[in-house]
Amino acid sequence: MVKLLQRLKIWRELKRLESKAREAPSPTTYVDLGQVYINLGMHDQTLRVSEEGLALFPNSKELRKLNNFAKKAHLKERIKDLRARLNKTPQPELYKDLAALYLELGDYGAVHGTCEEGIRRFPDDYGAYLVLARAKLATFYRDLRARDGAEAVRCLGKVVGLDRENVRAHKLLGEVLYRIGALNRSLHHLSFLRKLDAGDFEVEATYRRVVKDLGATEAGEHEDLEELFDLVESRNRLARGAVGAEAPRSEAEQESEIGSIRDALGQIAGIPGVCKATYIKGARALIKGQIRDGRDPFLRLARVVAKAAQRACRRMDLGSFNKGVLDGSFGHICVCSFGDVVAAVQCDPGTAVDRILAELQDLVARSLYVSEAVTP
């Protein structure tokens, strides 16, 4: 009886905090709500609350801590479940999933052990090779040890050998080869990816960068990977930085970047049928059309929907969410996202969204290229 009363009290408190988070959102209300879910052992809900909170308050340290804790607890639960299933019926998919969870948790030893076991049992399945390559890449980028890098490239080569059109393996190869300075080899993988899917921003940005760097350097056709990896280890630095990394910019450069984005957003808002348009980067937002100010609920809607779509696509193993269209009695809501940039538009029912979506995609891609162009 006492337990039942306690539960009722907790549920009532939960209901109160849920509506408080919705009516007066702040990092504290989300953290309080997450704490109650932690006490109840409902890690799924803690994760949901922390991600919803972070979508609105991306710079909150408390919410970041809550999110990390929820992620870890959630991962441990899933690992326990997968381990039990693996002991019952070993399958290649299970080995891949388990190793991927260990990787997310940062337990590289367990990743290695799981992948080795998976590869030994199912040598023709690429899944374990791919996770092992990702783990080796993570340690290579962290410690810059030539052996880890070479091993990652070997595993990725295995993946491509078993599954020629594996987008993820080609992407990882394109990036690591670029960063150690093997530009021609990197270009080979990126060109292949462009043929497979021309609309991938990430590939397009890396491709442009490699072509630009190839034009600026006198890179020979012959690229000895072993030599290049050894060079990275001895110099203790990579030959090239990450493509998405931004260099510090002057205020004038930042202003001109924002100006060009504002103009492009204004053009999108001017398309017949478009009533609201927004461009959000981190905690900042530009607005056009029938939007009152930065507190307009449409901004929150764009942030939360983009975040939820990103999470769903990633966890369903479908990669990164990049665009989406929501249809209903309200008309159409187009959302485009890359990294921490979200661009969204609301338009009237019956508006043709193809052009709007293309313009939005262009806006997001342009903001990526602008920041990239000023990177030395």
């Binding site: 779509a309 999470r311 193993d317 990164s320 249809d327 209903g328």
Partner: protein, 121 residues
Amino acid sequence: MSQINTVLGKLDKLEGVKGTALLTTDGMMVASTLGEEFLDDVVAGLSSFLISTTRRSLADASLSDRFDRFVLNSTHGKVIIIDLGESFLVVITNQFSDLRPCLEGVQRAAADLRRIAKIHI
């Protein structure tokens, strides 16, 4: 139930479709043709999370308490979610599939599923 499976099976044969699922609004899987690539409970849980979050955000923005269709594009696939009232149809395709013919097939399947639901009531 066999009628639902027939509709989903037909949808599954469309070019580029990797799997389909019919879910209740609270995330229970009614029927699915998801292959080994996807886990039923993962797709059900994440779709339900996405649907409820989207619905709540729309309601918070005073737009509506539901949506008709949500099409998502990601680097390795596309997801189409159709609101059927008491349930949701979720279709996963590969990233290269042409959505135009696929959406026609999905809308037809949605109409069939609505009709089947009415007969059952």
